[in-house]
Amino acid sequence: MTLSPFLRRLGLWGITALVMVVLPLLLRQGFALSMLSQMGIAVIFALSYNMLLGQTGMLSFGHAVYYGLGAYFSAHALNAIGAGKLGIPVTLLPLVGGVAGLSFGIVFGYVTTKRSGTPFAMISLGIAEMVAACALMFPGFFGGEGGIATNRQVGSAWLGITYGPQIQVYYLIAGWCLLSMIAMFALTHTPLGRMANAVRDNAERVRFVGYNPTRIRFMMLCLSTFFAGVAGGLGAINYELVTAENVGTVVSGNVLVMAFIGGVGHFFGPIIGAVLVSFLQSALSSYTQAWLLYFGLFFMVMVLFAPGGMASLIMIHAPVVRAKRMGTLALPYLVSGLLALVMLAGLVGLVEMIYFLETGAEVGKPLKLFGLALMPSTTGPWVGAMAVMLGGAAAFAWSLRLVRDAWARVHAYLQVQEGL
C-alpha cells in the first residue's frame, strides 16, 4: 500500500503532535517537564536558525539577537498586561516576540544581507556583539545585570488556563512549536523556500533566472527572525526572566551548535539537534562539572567526522534499511560502539580526576566513578585510566576496518540492486 505524499506527511505531523501531547504524561517528574518545555523552545529556535544556514547558506553568529529581543519585548508586554495597560491574552504573547524579532530582522537584515559568505558571518557577529554591549548600556529596557523579571499568571483565565502550572506552559510551548514547525516546513515548499535553496547552492546563477539573491536572503532572514522572536516570547513565559545573556554570543553559538549537530542539510536535522543538545545540557550538567568540555569534544568530533550532522548519519542508512541490509552493519557497529565506549570511559576517568584535583576536593576522599572509588592522589588510577583510554582507542581504530568492510559489502549490494 502506498500513501500519497500528502497523506503520509499529514500522518507524520499527527504522530508528532501525539508524541508532544503524550510525552509529559509518561514522564511525570517536574524535571522532565521543564526539560521538555526547554526542548520545544529550542526546536523552534534551531529550525529558524536553519532557515538561514541550511536553507539559504547564510552562516550567522548572531541569531540570539532576535531571540533575545523577542524575549525582552514579550517580557515587557507581559508586565504591561499585568499592569492592565495591554489587553492581549498570554496565549498570543509569542506573537509579540515574533513581531519584535521581525522588526529588528528587517532593520539589521537590510544591512547584513547585502553581503553573503564570510562577510555576512562577520557582520552578524558584529551586530550581535553590538546588541549585547547595548544591553548593558540601557538598563531601563534590558534590566541591567539582573534582567527583566515577569509574571506569566496575568490577565483573565480562559477555560481555567492560568499558566501557573508548568504543564500548561508546556502545552502552550508544544502548541506553538507544532504550529511553527509546520509553518517553517511549509515555507520550504514555497517558491521563496525553493529559491533560497538555489541561492545556497549557487547565488550567481539565481540572478540569471530572474531572481535577486539579496532580496531572497533578506526575506528569508526576516521570516527566520520572526520565528526566533516567537521562541524568545515562549522563553520569556517559560522562565519568567529575561537577562542580557539571552541576546549574547553564547546563545547565538548554542543555536548554531544545535542546528549543526542535528544536521543542516535536512529539515528535521535541527529538531534532532535541539532535542539532543537540550537533553545533553540538562543531563550532563547535573552529573559532571566537565560537561561543557565533553560537549565541546562531541561538537568537534561531529565537525571533523560527520559534518552532515545526525540527520545525514540517519539518512545514509535509509537505502540500507529499505534494502533490508542493516544486518550486515549491525555487528561491526556494535563492536565499534562498545570499543568507543571503552575509550570514552578512559577519557572520562582522566578528565574527572583532573577536575577532582583542581576543584580542591578533600584530601584522602575517593572519587566515585563507574562504581569505582578512585584515589586521584595515587598514580594507580591515572595509569589505569590512561591504559583504558589508549587501549580503547587502538582497538576502536582497528574496529573501524570492520565497519568499512561491511559498508563496502552493503554498497556493492546496493549497486547490484540499482542495476537491476
Binding site: A186, L187, H189, T190, P191, L192, G193, R194, M195, N197, A198, R200, D201, N202, E204, R205, V206, R207, F208, V209, G210, Y211, N212, R215, I216, M219, L223
Partner: protein, 249 residues
C-alpha cells in the same frame, strides 16, 4: 523592419588598463541564429558577460528588443527575456534536475518571492518544468541531484535552465565544449530544438557546430568585430581566414 532582438552599440570593456572589448557594434535580428567565433582571448565570453550584465560595461550601450538595458542588474535583464548559459557549468548542484529547471521557471510564471504558494500545487509550473526536462531528454534523471550527473548531462541541464524561463533571446557560451562527437551531435539537435522561433547567440569553437547551426557569424578578434556575415561569406572572407580560420587547419 522591426527592431533587432539584440543590439550592441560601441561596447567597450577594460579590466584595469587592459582593454578586452574594444568597441563592438553588433545587431542581431529577431529569430536569427548567430554564432560568435574567434581565437582564445578574443573576448567572446566577456562579451556575453557584458550583455547579461554579469560585468558592468566601461562604455557603450546594450539594447534588448529596442529598449536600452545598459546598467540594469542581471535579474532585470533576464526578466526582459534574455537567458544565458555558462561556459563552466553553473547549475544548482544540491537540487534535483527537475528542481533546477523549476527554479528557472518560477519567475516567468509570476510567482516571484511568494511564500504563500505551495510549489507542488502549481500545476502550470510543474507542467512547464517537466516539459523542459523532457525537452532536454532527462526524464529518467528527473529526480537525480544535479551535482552527480555526468558532464554531458550537466551541460544539457545548463541549457535547460537557460531556456526554461521562456527567454526569447538565448545566449549559449560554448555549449559543446569538452563533449565527444556523439554528445556534440545530441547537443546540436537540442540547441536547434530549444532555439526554435527564438533568437540565439552562441559562442562556439567547434566549426562543425557553428556552420551547421548559424544563420550569421561574427568573428571577434582582439575585442573587435572583424566581420559579421552569413556563413558562406565568412568562409570566403580573406581577413577572417588570415586572422583565424586559416590558423585552424
Amino acid at each position: 523592419m522591426s527592431a533587432p532582438a539584440l543590439e550592441l552599440r560601441a561596447v567597450h570593456k577594460s579590466f584595469g588598463k587592459t582593454a578586452i572589448i574594444n568597441g563592438v557594434d553588433l545587431s542581431i535580428a529577431k529569430g536569427e541564429r548567430h554564432a560568435i567565433i574567434g581565437p582564445n582571448g578574443a573576448g567572446k565570453s566577456t562579451l556575453f558577460n557584458l550583455i547579461s550584465a554579469r560585468f558592468p560595461l566601461t562604455s557603450g550601450d546594450i539594447v534588448l528588443h529596442g529598449e536600452p538595458v545598459t546598467g540594469l542588474p542581471p535579474q532585470e535583464i533576464n526578466r526582459r527575456g534574455l537567458g544565458r548559459s555558462f561556459q563552466i557549468t553553473n547549475i544548482f548542484p544540491r537540487l534535483s534536475v527537475f528542481e533546477n529547471v523549476r527554479c528557472a521557471v518560477l519567475w516567468s510564471m509570476g510567482y516571484r518571492y511568494s511564500f504563500w504558494h505551495r510549489v507542488s500545487a502549481l500545476r502550470a509550473v510543474r507542467e512547464r518544468a517537466d516539459e523542459v526536462v523532457s525537452l532536454i531528454g532527462m526524464e529518467r534523471r528527473r529526480d537525480r541531484l544535479a551535482g552527480v550527473l555526468s558532464y554531458a548531462e550537466q551541460r544539457a541541464l545548463e541549457i535547460g535552465v537557460t531556456v526554461a524561463g521562456g527567454a526569447d533571446v538565448i545566449l549559449l557560451d560554448e555549449p559543446t565544449a569538452g563533449m565527444s562527437r556523439s554528445e556534440t551531435e545530441d547537443a546540436v539537435e537540442l540547441i536547434r530544438t530549444v532555439s526554435e522561433g527564438k533568437t540565439l547567440v552562441m559562442v562556439e569553437h567547434d566549426m562543425g557546430v557553428v556552420f551547421g547551426l548559424a544563420d550569421r557569424i561574427s568573428v571577434l578578434v582582439y575585442g573587435r568585430v572583424l566581420a559579421s556575415d552569413v556563413p558562406t561569406a565568412i568562409r570566403s572572407n580573406k581577413a577572417v581566414q588570415e586572422a583565424y580560420l586559416g590558423a585552424e587547419d
